[in-house]
């Protein structure tokens, strides 16, 4: 792989939620990663791991209160996004960095024509006339495989998969440099998911957009991503290329994710789940966050926090076992 420039780099990001009932929730803890130009990075983890919080922090959409960014820097084009004003961020959102949300049913305005919603987005962000925006919107619809004849239809006339394609068209309408896709196909059926993923791959090839793909589905990751970051309890426990993650799995949690999948090991009569539950984010284990569920847990894991060790170039693992 040739060396590429990083378009986005996150350094030591920590986000906590302060709630009355639960106390201080450590949602994201010291997360750092880079996104290369034209690259697709998968953020993989379970519910409550902090994936969506990371995405919202990048866009400056974190609800505050209860959320608060404690420290960290998010560099985009050499500037720290966290230091930008709300007005500046509004320009960056959509124009430079766009987001696709999980639920296609609620992300569109039900009383506005589909085409107009895309045109609105273009009109707001680019110096074009209304007519030009509408023409561009029709082009975007065709780009995602929807006939321009359906420009004047309303969201309820579209199926779930088509709605998600409209949302992707909207996100890409201002040719953003980075696309944040939060579980873009989780709500869709497999055959529709296949269509949407194919389309995303195609668009990425043509437009050269960098993508951060948030998902829990390792199958989707295998199909879409160049690099993968595994998130557990607000930390990145492993990061590397897809080959690193799938062929040279380093962290016990990542291994557990694979063995939990039905069909991964056809020989055994039972699945091998990860024992126990995700730790309470208000009350995390002091050192290795995975130690209480880890089958390789030893004394050292409970006494010392593991380093983020580079096991091979670009492949980092946060585990004592990897240090040796």
């Amino acid at each position: 792989m040739d060396e590429k420039k990083n378009i986005l780099s996150i350094k030591d990001l920590s986000v906590h939620y302060f709630t009355v009932d639960m106390g201080e929730c450590h949602a994201v803890n010291h997360v750092s990663f880079d996104l290369g130009e034209g690259e697709t990075l998968g953020l993989v983890g379970e519910t409550g791991a902090g994936k969506t919080t990371i995405a919202l922090s990048i866009l400056g959409l974190l609800q505050s209160p209860p959320g608060r960014i404690l420290n960290g820097e998010i560099f985009y084009k050499g500037e720290d996004l966290l230091k930008k004003s709300e007005a500046k961020m509004r320009e960056i959102r959509g124009e430079e960095i766009a987001m696709v949300f999980q639920d296609p049913m609620t992300a569109l305005n039900p009383v506005d024509r589909v085409g107009d919603q895309i045109a609105e987005m273009i009109y707001l962000h680019q110096k074009v006339s209304r007519a030009e925006a509408m023409e561009k919107a029709a082009e975007m619809l065709e780009l995602v495989g929807i006939s321009r004849d359906r420009y004047r239809e309303f969201p309820h006339q579209f199926s779930g998969g088509m709605k998600q394609r409209v949302i992707i068209a909207m996100a890409l309408s201002c040719s953003p440099k980075i696309l944040l896709a939060d579980e873009p196909t989780t709500a869709l059926d497999v055959t529709i998911q296949a269509q949407v993923l194919d389309m995303m791959n195609e668009l990425k090839k043509n437009l050269g957009t960098s993508v951060i793909l948030i998902t829990h589905d390792l199958g989707v990751v295998a199909q879409m991503c160049n690099r993968v970051a595994i998130v557990y309890a607000g930390e990145i426990v492993e990061i590397g290329t897809v080959e690193d993650i799938f062929d040279h799995t380093g962290h016990p949690y990542t291994k557990g994710l694979f063995t939990s999948l039905p069909g991964y090991d056809d020989t055994s009569k039972r699945l091998k789940p990860i024992q126990g539950l995700m730790p309470d984010p208000a009350n995390l284990p002091p050192h290795c966050k995975f130690a209480p569920r880890c089958e390789h847990c030893c004394e050292m894991c409970e006494q010392r926090t593991p380093e983020f060790t580079e096991v091979s170039p670009g492949h980092f693992v946060r585990c004592h076992l990897a240090e040796k």
């Binding site: 379970e46 519910t47 059926d189 497999v190 829990h216 199958g219 295998a222 694979f258 789940p273 990860i274």
Partner: protein
């Protein structure tokens, strides 16, 4: 082994403002006792409706359901009460399927209180035994659902379904709302329970990997109809219906070396409201010919036990 359930020409239609919705349309199949029938299909194919019709949560429109040879399509309330003990259901959403105002203990005890004839001590005993079986710590007896995570809530739902010792359980997407690591725990639990109690499952899901793992036989549904029915191994080795083929090829494999050629379907999904004649898959089928749009394909047995509803079954 003997069949526990046989279904003949089962239909369930709903009257909606736009016409008649064919949720389940002329299904024929049977399930052997102690085995698992996987029902696969995408949203809106009628698989959940089928599960509810089988256990009498919905009345069928037409057709017959035979339970151990007895026709239970129309039963009186006394027999229905007995059947409720034999036939149970596990729901998809572990958040919506539990009454937020009832403790774990109350939820699991309720079926016995309704049935009557249990002493307080017997109920106590059974509830705790059930909690042990499904892996819920006894100290949680007085906890409310909102205090627990999805996996534990799903265990409560399973305990409630199993406490009357049913013979036949419909599992309606019991793991699709759960994270992978928790999903594996629940699948293992369901398998353990089946081995121990010889329960028959109808396992409804959209997840082909899960269905492959848990089922003996698999039925693929499309818009209310059965398009393919076969043994687990046979279906995955030799999918015959074009829809099954597309479905299997669409599943993203968690493997970067196995590059499957995906069949991408074009076209709109036909409406299940008054669908009319012709193969319902024709509009999306890459092989569709004129006959497909005019005549409904009959069920054909391409190999013993492998049934397909396609005009060109075996030729594609």
């Amino acid at each position: 082994m003997a069949d526990i359930l046989e279904v003949k020409h089962l239909k369930k239609y709903f009257d909606v403002s736009a016409g008649t919705l064919h949720a389940v349309d002329d299904l024929n199949f049977h399930i052997e006792e102690g085995t698992t029938l996987g029902v696969v299909g995408e949203s809106g194919c009628g698989k959940s409706t089928l599960g509810r019709v089988l256990i009498h949560l919905l009345e069928s429109t037409d057709g017959q359901i035979l339970y151990k040879g007895e026709d239970i399509t129309r039963v009186n309330s006394k027999r229905l009460t007995q059947l409720r003990h034999d036939m149970q259901i596990i729901f998809q959403d572990p958040f919506a399927s539990l009454n937020p105002r009832m403790t774990i203990y109350q939820t699991i005890a309720e079926p016995m209180q309704i049935a009557g004839g249990y002493s307080k001590q017997q109920i106590n005993e059974n509830v705790y035994k059930m909690m042990d079986t499904v892996g819920l710590a006894r100290r949680l007896a007085n906890a409310y659902p909102h205090e627990l995570d999805g996996g534990r809530r799903q265990r409560i739902g399973i305990a409630r379904a199993l406490v009357m010792d049913p013979k036949f359980v419909v599992c309606d997407e019991p793991v699709s709302a759960l994270d992978v690591s928790i999903q594996a725990q629940i699948i293992n639990l369901l398998l353990d329970i089946q081995e121990e109690r010889k329960i028959t499952y109808v396992f409804i899901t959209h997840d082909l990997m899960v269905v492959k793992y848990i089922s003996d036989k698999i039925m693929v549904m499309y818009l209310g109809q059965m398009v393919e029915f076969a043994d687990n191994d046979e279906l995955f080795a030799a999918p015959t219906h074009p829809y099954t083929q597309a479905l299997l090829s669409a599943v993203p494999q968690p493997d970067i070396h196995k590059k499957t050629e995906r069949i991408i379907m074009k076209g709109e999904i036909k409406s299940p409201i008054d669908p009319g004649p012709g193969c319902r898959f024709a509009a999306r089928c890459p092989y569709a010919k004129d006959i497909c749009r005019q005549e409904s394909p009959a069920l054909r047995e391409t190999k013993p036990g492998h049934i397909v509803a396609c005009h060109f079954a075996g030729e594609l």
